[in-house]
Symmetry: C2
Subunit: 164 residues, 2 copies
């Protein structure tokens, strides 16, 4: 199949300078404030965004240098398939996070609950809508009973290049 | 900023052959069954996925041939900024959908509530986790009061090449 090419639409400025000790999900990133700098040529696309309380960021995890199909995720001690985890060392390292929208000034968006490293290239912004009608129906597989730990677990160096 | 390149990990087979008359969100795609064919070299990454009831698909909207920064979305009659909408003609046409997982047999995943066209290249699969702790908090901007229409609204030809 054909290779797919994207151009970043902006850059994410975050308090987290290295891939260690980063919140592993936005639900564990309460209060971490960052800014998103949209490239001026895309600025017009931000119209109407300020009415939304939460926005989804799709970004390129630029510090990922390899991929693995089985990983020991931050929340587990056994190997899991990469597609059943949110681990960064994915074949296509696209990150997805929901952040709280604080304000938009020109091409700068201030957001809360940020969980990516500083300098991350941004691919897309989407308004955050309810994803599942009936949350009672949801089954979380191996993550059952573990997602509460998002609030206290931080990343470590396990997915760095040297720990491949 | 540097261009970003991805390789599809699979292909989505869907009952929707053209970009017209497709459900505009998975919440409006109840019951539409499709299959995802994972390239054999990524098959091992599917381990443990079958425990999840819902999975997120990130895909390349391959039929999008241009982008616009302001669009009249399917659910509206006035122009909105592209990043405040889910319209396909985005600078980076990455689609995101939550589907219900029916079964996994080898490298074939059968899913329900599919809302993309046949032959769509798949970029990533992530387990679907609750995205926002407190849904009471969510503000939906111009989509307030409109998302119920996902169930009855279908796409039309407005984002086809000829209607640019």
């Amino acid at each position: 199949m054909k290779e797919i090419t994207y151009q970043p639409i902006g850059i994410i400025h975050s308090p987290f300078k290295t891939p260690e000790n980063v919140p592993i999900q936005h639900t564990g990133a309460k209060g971490a404030v960052g800014t998103i700098e949209i490239l001026p040529e895309y600025n017009e696309g931000l119209k109407d965004l300020e009415g939304f309380s939460h926005i989804m960021l799709l970004f390129h995890m630029h510090q990922v240098e390899y991929h693995k199909l089985k990983v020991i995720p931050f929340l587990d001690t056994v190997e899991r398939g990469i597609f059943s985890s949110r681990a960064p060392v994915r074949p296509n390292p696209i990150g997805l996070t929901v952040v709280k929208l604080i304000k938009i000034e020109g091409n700068i968006i201030t957001v809360e609950n940020i969980d990516m490293t500083d300098g991350t290239p941004l691919l897309d912004i989407k308004p955050c809508l309810p994803m599942i009608d009936d949350l009672q129906d949801i089954k979380l597989g191996w993550l059952t009973g573990k997602i509460e730990q998002f609030g206290v677990t931080r990343s470590d160096s396990r997915f760095n290049k040297t720990s491949k």
